[in-house]
């Protein structure tokens, strides 16, 4: 297997050092930079497969650096930031980041996210492309639902779902971004008139989330719209 190079950009040297060490333990080659300008220089001279980018940095901040990076490179970028506001996440993702992880991060979670991004970009790039054309495959971000095989893969990894979970996910993935109420999900999936209640649906949603999300408490795909319903967040 090819060794991936990861560029860690942060003005705090201890973060860079500890994170670099952890990544090396995972088997990645680590490159470091301490501000946006250095990061851009690194990209010029080295092959980089993924960037872990801090936002608040001197000289050239993360978001500006991201804009410049996106002009030339299409590699995955994960923003690491102490800013936890929803608006910060939205602005980061709209500027072209692939993921947004808040500091202080959980190491295992961050590693999982790095893995997931790398898999999506370098292992299944072509496979996903083919699948998207065929009508029997639903694709949303790293989620791939093969309706013929009734099989779900998350970033290329197969996930085992129960029949009910599969039906719920299929319904939601058919209409990404659309908010379904529990009643709607219940009537379509269980196909019974008697509505067993919000909680039944919620419990299933939670189980699915535990299977497909890296951090079920902070889901990327399957989101609860509190007080309204459920939806699958739409990704390219």
């Amino acid at each position: 297997m090819e060794q991936y190079s990861i560029l860690v950009v942060d003005d705090d040297r201890e973060i860079v050092r500890s994170l670099g060490k952890l990544l090396e333990l995972e088997g990645y080659r680590v490159l470091t930079a301490f501000n946006g300008m250095e990061a851009l220089d690194r990209l010029e001279t080295d092959t980089v497969h993924l960037i872990l980018l801090d936002v608040m940095m001197p000289q050239l901040n993360g978001l500006s650096a991201l804009m410049r990076i996106r002009q030339k490179h299409n590699i995955p970028v994960i923003i690491l930031s102490a800013k936890t506001e929803e608006s910060d996440k939205v602005s980061g993702l709209t500027m072209g980041a692939d993921d947004y992880v808040t500091k202080p991060y959980n190491t295992a979670e961050l590693m999982a996210r790095v893995r997931s991004q790398l898999r999506r970009y370098f292992s299944l790039g072509s496979a996903a492309g083919d699948g998207n054309v065929s009508g029997n495959v639903l694709k949303n971000g790293g989620l791939l639902l093969d309706r013929n095989a009734k099989q779900l893969t998350v970033d290329g990894e197969p996930v085992r779902l129960t029949a009910t979970e599969y039906k719920i996910l299929e319904l939601l993935m058919e209409h990404p971004g659309y908010v379904f109420s529990a009643e709607q999900i219940y009537s379509r999936v269980w196909q019974e008139d008697a509505y067993a209640g919000e909680k039944t649906v919620m419990v299933h949603i939670r189980r699915i989330r535990e299977k497909i999300e890296i951090t079920p408490k902070n889901p990327k795909y399957l989101k609860v719209v509190w007080g309204i319903g459920y939806k699958i967040e739409k990704y390219d």
Partner: protein, 543 residues
């Protein structure tokens, strides 16, 4: 029939008994005075005509004596009444029993006018008999002396009663001490004293025009009246026309003043200010009576804007500070977590591994706490982002309970829910509401006595969506509901349980931002949290 009449008389007698002696005396005196005075008048007219017609003796002394007697009796009756009341008043506080009756509310000026009018009529009517001019009394005399009795009964007796009645009422008023309250002039004067300088200014300004108007109208009436009797006087026509023209001018000036327009503009300015527009300045003419007020309002706007700007700046600085501090706390914590994770992968002794685990879990809670402090600060400063939507409290509760299923199961607590059939729509931020409910239910799970039940009741109360979460505490709650709401307050003072005590404070702050209410009640061992939100009436059913 007879018995009914008897009863009526009986009850009337009963009522009469309850009337005070003084009132009875006054009533009898009143009637007596009227009768005596009118009899004196009768005697006067009779004698006068007697002398004139049959003896042709004019103006003899007995005639004047009776004239004087009739007037004297009238005046004397009044004086007697006054003196009686005067002494009555000084005696034994009996007068204090006087009560203010409907007649006492009549205007004092009206009474005075009535007394003067009836007095003048009395004197005038008597005089008219002497001078044989046309008058009511003369009318009776015209039909012969025999009709005089009737004339006196119908004219002089009521006149005397009215006059005396007015006097008695005026005296009562003095006794009651309500002269000032019932007098128009006195009330006007009092109002004038209480008037603000602005009101005085306006009233004096327009007094001239109103007086001119009244004078002009009167003059006009007089002129046109004379015109109708004195035909063809050009001067009068001109005078009448001029006075009417002046009246018109005065009226035009009084009515066409800009006060109402200006007042409307001033109210508009106040309205704009109340609506949040602090940039409105006066649009009134500098000569307007309301110009100073409008200018002052503008100044208030201006200083308010300055204060608001200052406060906004301070608020923004505070937020920046919080953001920076939390960033500065998070950065070292991030590398600490990184190194602890690296340590975990090193070969360590069992004890060292144990220490690293403790470090790791403490750092996790420190991380949560920093985030909670940040969220709380943002929320209490009112700068937290809110994504308000119409939510269904029922769904929200079910979703939260479903989401927390594992925590509920592992806590061993039983949750009893009571929800209505109908949705409970309200306006709120879904994610924040989830956090609120999660905190409240989490607290209930954490602090409940094993084996007790947690009650969650959602209902609609009038125009409010209300959620009640009740649980029985495992610890003695030696705190008030106010104390528990404070930051870092915890259900158990010994701090044995997990958590840092920000949950309730965060919940309260979030709810407040969403215009809801959170109330905590501690009743013995029962801990109760109540959430209230204004209900959103459903206008359409979502597909």
């Amino acid at each position: 029939m007879a018995t009914r009449l008897k009863n009526m008389i009986k009850s009337a007698a009963e009522k009469l008994k309850s009337v005070s002696v003084w009132a009875k005396t006054a009533f009898v005196l009143w009637l007596l005075g009227g009768a005596v005075a009118s009899f004196a008048a009768y005697r006067f007219i009779y004698q006068h005509n007697f002398y004139i017609r049959w003896y042709s003796v004019s103006y003899s002394s007995p005639l004047w004596a009776t004239y004087a007697l009739s007037l004297g009796l009238l005046a004397g009756a009044a004086l007697a009444a006054y003196l009686y009341l005067h002494f009555f008043r000084s005696r034994a506080d009996g007068w204090k029993k006087l009560k203010v009756r409907a007649l006492d509310q009549l205007s004092a000026e009206l009474l005075l006018a009535a007394a003067i009018l009836t007095g003048f009529l009395w004197v005038g009517e008597l005089r008219s008999v002497v001078f044989q001019s046309e008058s009511l009394a003369g009318f009776f005399v015209f039909y012969g002396l025999e009709s005089l009795t009737l004339g006196c009964a119908l004219l002089f007796f009521p006149l005397a009663l009215l006059f005396l009645g007015c006097l008695i009422l005026l005296i009562r008023r003095r006794l009651l001490g309500i002269w000032g309250d019932t007098s128009w002039i006195s009330r006007l004067y009092r109002r004038w004293q209480k008037a603000t300088p602005f009101e005085k200014q306006l009233r004096t300004k327009y007094l001239l025009s109103y007086t001119l108007m009244a004078g002009g109208i009167l003059l006009g009436i007089v002129c046109f009246y004379l015109l109708s009797t004195w035909y063809g006087a050009d001067e009068l026509i001109i005078l009448g026309l001029i006075s009417e023209f002046l009246t018109f001018l005065a009226a035009a000036w009084a009515l066409n003043n800009r006060l109402y327009t200006d007042l409307g503009q001033l109210l508009g300015q106040i309205g704009a200010m109340a609506g949040g527009d602090l940039s409105v300045r006066t649009s009134l003419d500098a000569r307007s009576d309301l110009y100073p007020a409008s200018c002052q309002l503008g100044e208030i706007s201006e200083s308010l804007q300055t204060i608001l700007d200052k406060q906004m700046r301070a608020e923004r600085m505070k937020i920046d500070l919080i953001t920076n501090v939390s960033h500065d706390l998070k950065t070292p914590l991030t590398s600490m977590i990184g190194y602890v994770d690296l340590l975990k992968q090193e070969p360590l002794s069992d004890a060292a591994q144990d220490y690293v685990e403790v470090l790791s879990s403490r750092m996790e809670s420190l991380k949560d706490m920093i985030q909670d402090i940040f969220d709380l600060s943002k929320s209490t400063s009112g700068t937290a982002e809110l994504h308000l939507e119409t939510l269904d409290m029922k769904k929200l509760l079910e979703q939260t309970l479903g989401d927390m299923e594992d925590a509920i199961k592992s806590s061993g607590m039983v949750i009893r829910e009571a929800m209505p059939e109908m949705p409970l729509k309200f306006t709120g931020d879904g994610k924040k509401m989830y956090r609120v409910l999660q905190n409240l239910i989490g607290n209930a799970l954490k602090y409940s006595l094993a084996g007790t039940r947690i009650y969650i009741i959602a209902e609609r109360r009038a125009s409010q969506v209300q959620v009640t979460i009740k649980n029985t505490a495992a610890y003695e709650m030696d705190f008030t509901s106010e104390e528990i709401m404070e930051r870092f307050a915890r259900g158990d003072k010994s701090r044995n349980t997990e958590g840092h005590g920000l949950g309730l404070a965060i919940a309260e702050s979030f709810v407040k931002n969403m215009k809801g209410g959170l109330q905590v009640t501690v009743d013995g061992d029962q801990f109760k949290v109540q959430l209230t939100f204004p209900v959103v009436e459903e206008t359409r059913v979502m597909a």
